[in-house]
Every structure is written in C-alpha cells, then in structure tokens.
C-alpha cells in the first residue's frame, strides 16, 4: 500500500551522506515527500502547507549530528511538529461538580456515535462511574433501538422515553431519572446531522443551552478526507465541542483528519475507537497516531496490547528457552495460542511498523482459519514428537496428516516453517541490537547508514513469540 515516510526519505537522502548540512537544495525533495505522505494520510492541505513551512525552517542549517542520519533528523522534526499540533499527554474527561454530569455525543451521520456512546458508557463503569444512557435520535429508523440493545450489552440503564417525544423532552426525562436513581453521568446520543443542516444544528444548540453539558464530544470517522476540517469547525463554532472521539481506527486509514481537526478546533482528541466490541475504546496517545500518519506503525499500542495478554512468567520462560535453543514444537504451539488470544490478527498487523525485517508483513494475508489448521496439525503429534521434531519421519508424518485431516505436504510445510522460526528466533535472543550489530559488521562497504536507517520509527525489540513472518510468510 503506502510506502512509509522514512523509506521515502531514505531514498531521497541516499546521495546526501557526507554532506554536513541539510540545505535548501537537498531538502526540497524531502519536503515534497513529506507533503505527499501527509496528503495521502488525509491531513488537510492547509495544515500541510503550514507544517511544511515550519519543518523547512527548523531543518535548514541544522548540523548533521554524527549519530543521526539526515533522514532521522528530518523525520524527527516532522514527528515533533505533528506531536506539538496534536498536544501532549492524554486528555482526561471532565465531570461536573454537581452530578449528574451531562455528556453530549454529536457528529455526522455514520461516524459511529451510537457505538461510541455504548463504549464510553462501559469505559465510565470501569472507572467507577454510574452512567445513564438516552438516545434523542428520533430521525434515523431504529436508532433508539440500537442504543437500547447496546445498553443491554454493556449492562447500563437507558432512559427509553416514549414515542413521539421530542429530543428535548427525552433528554429532560433522562436527567430527571438520573437524579432519582442516583446516576452520575447522563450520555446523550444525538442524531447524526450535516453541519450545514441549520434546523438540526439549532436543535443541538437548544440541547446544549438547556443542559449545559460538561463534555460535548464530536465523533469523527478516521476515514474522513479533506472535509473533516469543515464539519469539525462548524460543530465547534456552534456548540463549543470539548473533545473528539476518532472512530474506526481499527481500519487501515491513516487518520490524518485527526491532525486537521485538532488544528482547526484546538480541542483535544480524547478517545479512539478500535473495533466493534464494547471494550474497543482506547485513550488517545498523540505520539502513536503520529507514527501511524507517517506510516511508521503503532508500536507502543502493540507492545501494550502484548503486555496485557502475555503472562510475564511465560514470557521469561520463553526467553530462557530461546537462549538455550530449546524452542520446541510444544512452545511453538503455545505461542500460536497466545497469538490467537490476542484477538484480531489483522489489527495487530496494522500496528506493526513497516520497517526493517518486518517490512513485508503489511501485505501478508493472515487467515485465522490457517491458525486453526496449524494448531490441529501440532495437536495430532505425540508429546515426544513435539519435544523433538527430528524423530518425525515419513510414517509419522502420514499419521499426523491423517489425524489432522490435511495432506502430508501441509505437515511438511509446517515443519519447515517451524525450523525456520527456530533458526530466526535464535538470532532474536541477543535482542535486535545484536542482530543489527552483526549486520553492520558484515555490510561495511554498503555504508553503515543502511542498517541503522531503519530506526527512526523505533523498531522495537519484539517480545518473544511475536514472530509472524515464520508462520505466515509463505
């Protein structure tokens, strides 16, 4: 798909080594690549223009430090600039001193307001709040029914109201009920509307002046293009939004709209939606989305996700085994199960950086069914075979194939993949640094930049077991 920015810049700067400075002349091409990368990520063109100017000013005249390549320097300037725009740290939700706190959820049609409302409700419960939901979408067919179903799923009470009630009446009823039943947050899910639809925007203004919400959250689709700024700006002007929820980030959109929205509204991004399940909501981290906009992978989210799922003790044990080259088929199987546990493989893949040895992963088609098949094959082996793969001869292979309902070739292929995995894992044990060092030594004539040039995105030391290419590479 997209080529990542640091690769493009590397190409631009290939002939640049040896020159001590970034100059007007040699930075021109780099700026063009940056501009294209940002536009392809749907960052608004005005924002891009401004950003390029800032980057140029900062990049010009900088000394090339011996430890940084020009590529790394420019990428760092761009990253810092983007993070500066997006604001630093996480943005916390605000609550009223006198409960109930009223939250209004607003946005265009189809941006994901109702789904987000359900997710935020769940998030609030996990953080010790007692929310009450109400849908004031009296327009879209079955919209209120949708929130009712979601409320049931996350086990949060909902104020149902009656048919024929106006949005204002529904919201008032909900506030009354919250007061009576001691709910401390009321989430008002509003109807999707176009920001140019004056009548409906007036309706929101009325809701806002009546309820004085502490949070007016604007829900924006990560796939939105250049128009993101117009709708966000209009919603902000009329309602004074307090924060943004960026949805559908589990897709492969770059989410450059987030940058534009932040720039034009000055409002923080508070949450990102990463799936259709009720718990697929994450706090917003500027540095992560910046890496994504630049096509450098959401490494931190990945590591966090892995840490959440993997038992520390297991991980240590695995590392020990790798160190002693004792990675058996049994361990292989264990890792497979871990992988499966970690949920959607595809969303994991989209978080991986597309640099270095994992570059080709972005185009790999990972079929969950394949995982099941592989597991079946290993399960059909005896414990002895799993502990020592070398004893698996022809007749054993035939038996395993029959047991797992596959062709013998599939067993052969798996064993080959396992041996390859084992071989590559051996090089992991020294950490990625070790691998890099070895390469550097060998490829001296190519210049030391190539081996190191991979790092601007910060290729992480992947935790044990995170070895996709061996399993899915072929």
């Amino acid at each position: 798909m997209f080529e990542n920015l640091s690769e493009k810049l590397q190409r631009v700067f290939k002939d640049l080594r040896g020159e001590g400075k970034l100059t007007e002349g040699n930075i021109q091409d780099a700026l063009r690549e940056i501009r294209l990368a940002l536009l392809e990520a749907d960052v608004n063109f005005k924002v891009v223009k401004e950003l390029i100017l800032n980057v140029r000013t900062k990049a010009l005249g900088q000394e090339v430090l011996t430890s940084f390549s020009p590529t790394e320097q420019v990428v760092k300037i761009v990253k810092d600039e983007l993070i500066r725009i997006l604001g630093s740290g996480e943005s916390k939700l605000r609550f009223a001193s006198q409960p109930p706190s009223i939250f209004m959820i607003v946005g265009l049609q189809g941006s994901g307001k109702t789904t987000s409302t359900g997710k935020i409700a769940r998030w609030l419960i996990k953080n010790g709040k007692r929310p009450l939901l109400v849908s004031v979408d009296v327009y879209r067919p079955a919209a209120r029914e949708q929130l009712r179903v979601l409320a049931k799923q996350v086990d949060v009470p909902i104020y149902a109201g009656e048919d024929g009630q106006s949005p204002l009446e529904l919201a008032k009823g909900a506030r009354r009920e919250a007061n009576q039943t001691g709910r401390d947050v009321v989430l008002i899910d509003t109807a999707g509307r176009l920001h140019i639809d004056d009548e409906l925007m007036v309706e929101l203004e009325q809701l806002k002046s009546e309820f004085e919400p502490v949070e007016v959250l604007f829900v924006a689709d990560a796939m939105t293009g250049q128009d993101a700024v117009n709708s966000a700006a209009e919603f902000n002007t009329r309602l004074g939004i307090t924060g943004v929820v960026l949805t559908k980030m589990d897709g492969d959109a770059r989410g450059g709209g987030a940058l534009s929205i932040r720039q034009v509204t000055g409002r923080p991004l508070k949450f990102i939606g990463v799936g259709e399940k009720a718990d697929a909501l994450e706090l917003f981290h500027p540095d992560r989305i910046v890496s994504r906009i630049l096509g450098m992978g959401d490494v931190l989210s990945l590591i966090e996700k892995v840490e959440e799922q993997i038992d520390k003790k297991d991980a240590l044990e695995m590392q020990d085994k790798l160190l002693h080259n004792e990675f058996t088929l049994e361990d292989f199987q264990k890792q497979l199960r871990q992988l499966k546990k970690m949920g959607s493989l595809q969303s994991l893949l989209s978080m991986l950086p597309s640099v270095g040895p994992f570059k080709d992963l972005q185009n790999v088609d990972m079929d969950p069914k394949e995982l099941v098949r592989i597991e079946a094959i290993i399960s059909s082996m005896t414990t002895k075979e799993r502990k020592n793969h070398e004893i698996i001869n022809g007749s054993r292979r035939r038996r395993i194939a029959r047991g797992s309902g596959v062709e013998v070739q599939a067993v052969n292929a798996l064993l080959k993949q396992y041996r390859e995995a084992r071989r590559m894992m051996r090089s992991l044990t020294g950490g990625m640094a070790g691998v890099g060092a070895k390469r550097k030594g060998k490829g001296k004539k190519k210049g030391k930049g190539r081996g190191r040039g991979n790092t601007p995105g910060g290729l992480p030391q992947l935790p044990p077991g995170m070895n996709f290419p061996q399993i899915f590479g072929r």
Binding site: L194, M223, G225, D227
Partner: protein
C-alpha cells in the same frame, strides 16, 4: 394576428390551471444533478474560478493553486497529478493559453476519467436479479437500500429485501422500517444468525414469489478484516448456488466524506466481494466526493447511483456527462 380559436383558449386555460394548481413539474435529471453537486461546485469550481480571477496567463503559481483545489476535493495526489500533467502537456504544445479555457479543459478531462469505467447501467436479464450492497461501517448502506427499493418499484419491479446484517444492533429493525415505508417484504432471522442462511431464505422466497429484484443488506465491515471479508465470499457462493450467475450486482457504498482510504476500501471489496459498481452517498453535505474520481480512475468501477438526502426520492442514477456539466456549468 389570427383570432383565437375556442381550442387555443381552452388550452391556455388548461395550462394555466395545470401550472398554477397542478403538481410541480418533475425536475429534469440535469436539475437534480445540479442540486446534488451544488456543494462540490461551490467548493471546487468556484475556487477554481477565484484562482483564475484576473489571471492573464497560466503560470506555475496558478497550477499550484489548482493542484491544491483538486487535492482539497479528495481527488487524491495521483489523479491530481494525472490531470495536471495533461494540462502541462497542452500548455507546452501551446494548445492552451487562456486561463478561461482551462476550466473547460478540466471538465473534459474529468468526464474522460469518469467515462473510463464504461457503461454505468448494465442490462441484466435475470430473474430474480440479486443486488448485494456492501461497504465499511456507517457509509449509508441501509438508507441506500431504502431509496433503491423505492426507485426500482417506481420502475414497476417487484422487490424483496434480505436483512443479512445480522451483526449490528438494531440493523434488522432499521431495514424493516424501510421495508414498511416502501411496502416491501423483508426476509429476516435473529440477530447473530448466519448471513448466508438469511440470504438462502430470501432467495428461495424470491423464487417462490416470482420476485424481480432481491436487495441484500450486509453488515458494515472494515476491509482489512479478513474474517469478515471471507463472510462476503461465502454469501456470494450461496447466492450463486441458488441463482446461477448471481449476485448480478455488488454495489459498494462509499461515503462522500471519505478520504484517500476510499481507494483501499474499493480495492479490497473488489478483491473479495467482486464489486461491480459504486454508490456515492451523502453527497448533500459539504463533502466533495472527489475520492470516487480516484476510484473510477484507478479501478475502473462505474458509479451507479448518488445519494443526496434521507428521503425516499433522494437517489439519482449516475451519468458522468451530466455530472460534470452540472459540476462545472459549462
């Protein structure tokens, strides 16, 4: 001047009554397209007009502003480059000098791109005809189906709806409301059931009831989720088994506010679900829908319909020439 005959006097009266008290005339297709692309025109074409204001010659600065105008319409870097290099080419051959000619040139080029996908209205001689509607979440699939049903019924076709979005909360109920509005039967099962099973039921019912068109509502799915995309493949197989040659049409609904990701959506849905045409939805916003130009240009998929509102009538058959004419007012 001749004397008025009783017939002409009567005719005049009839016309008076008709125009004053009769139903308003049907807007022409051109008028409706004009309404649909009003926002795009305001944003894109008027901006281009501004750029040309007072310019005597086409210079680099003008071209750069033009580039920005095209990119801000979500047309994408690559298609923008293509359009601009065509302009540059003509400039260098002195076929283009005056900024005022540039607009006509742009319109022509845009029309050429949109016509690349070939005929936008296939003649399908199947019974029942199966139309599958697919897309990412929130693009307006179900609303499009409601409007499409209304359109097909106005053409005298019998329609049956298939509620194969068994995943999203209240999706089935949403389709049923559209079914009621258009007086169309909806085949459904419970939320969570297998979409292919619902499709199976719907196709059997359609055959038994001698229905002309079956429209299949599918769950919104992100195109990078292989499991969900495989589900669409399975539905296609089910359809093919019951009605050979079907689905005859797989419509991808693209939200007009979509940015560059729209291209990847189209690519992936075409790969797994075999998209045959596009529906550009929500074009009544400030959205410009430029991404479809990129999609048509790169993937050669025709645009079949455009959605311009939430009412039953707010769906138009797409016609590249009329679209561009309404857009550029040339």
């Amino acid at each position: 001047m001749e004397k008025a005959t009783p017939e002409t006097v009567g005719g005049v009266f009839q016309i008076m009554i008709q125009t004053l008290f009769g139903p308003p005339p049907e807007p022409t297709i051109y008028e409706r397209f004009q309404k649909a692309v009003a926002k795009t025109r305001d944003e894109l074409v008027e901006r281009i007009d501004d750029i040309f204001q007072g310019k005597k010659e086409i210079d680099e600065e003008l071209l750069e502003e033009l580039e920005m105008a095209l990119i801000s319409a979500d047309i994408g870097v690559r298609t923008t480059d293509e359009i601009l290099s065509a302009v540059r080419d003509q400039l260098s051959r002195n076929q283009l000098k005056d900024p005022s000619e540039l607009k006509a040139h742009l319109a022509k080029h845009m029309a050429t791109i949109l016509e690349r996908a070939g005929d936008s209205s296939p003649v399908i001689d199947a019974h029942p005809q199966v139309i599958m509607v697919v897309g990412v979440n929130g693009t307006g699939k179900t609303t499009t189906i409601g409007k499409l049903t209304h359109y097909l019924k106005s053409q005298g076709k019998s329609v049956l709806l298939c509620a194969a979005d068994t995943f999203r909360a209240a999706a089935i109920e949403q389709l049923e409301v559209w079914g009621e509005r258009t007086g169309t039967a909806v085949i459904r099962q419970q939320t969570g059931s297998d979409p292919s099973a619902v499709l199976f039921d719907a196709l059997q019912a359609a055959k038994a009831r001698d229905i002309d068109v079956v429209i299949v509502d599918t769950a919104g799915r992100l195109h990078n989720k292989s499991g969900l995309m495989a589900e669409l493949e399975k539905m296609k197989r089910t359809s093919e088994r019951l009605v050979p040659g079907s689905p005859h049409e797989v419509l991808l609904v693209v939200d007009a506010v979509t940015g560059q990701n729209g291209l990847e959506q189209a690519r992936q849905f075409t790969k797994t679900a075999g998209v045959t045409g596009l529906v550009l939805s929500k074009l009544d916003g400030t959205a410009k829908g430029g991404i479809v130009v990129a999609i048509v240009s790169e993937l050669k998929l025709p645009i079949r319909y455009i959605g311009v509102g939430e009412q039953l009538e707010d769906l138009e058959k797409f016609d590249p020439e009329t679209f561009v004419r309404a857009l550029f007012e040339v």
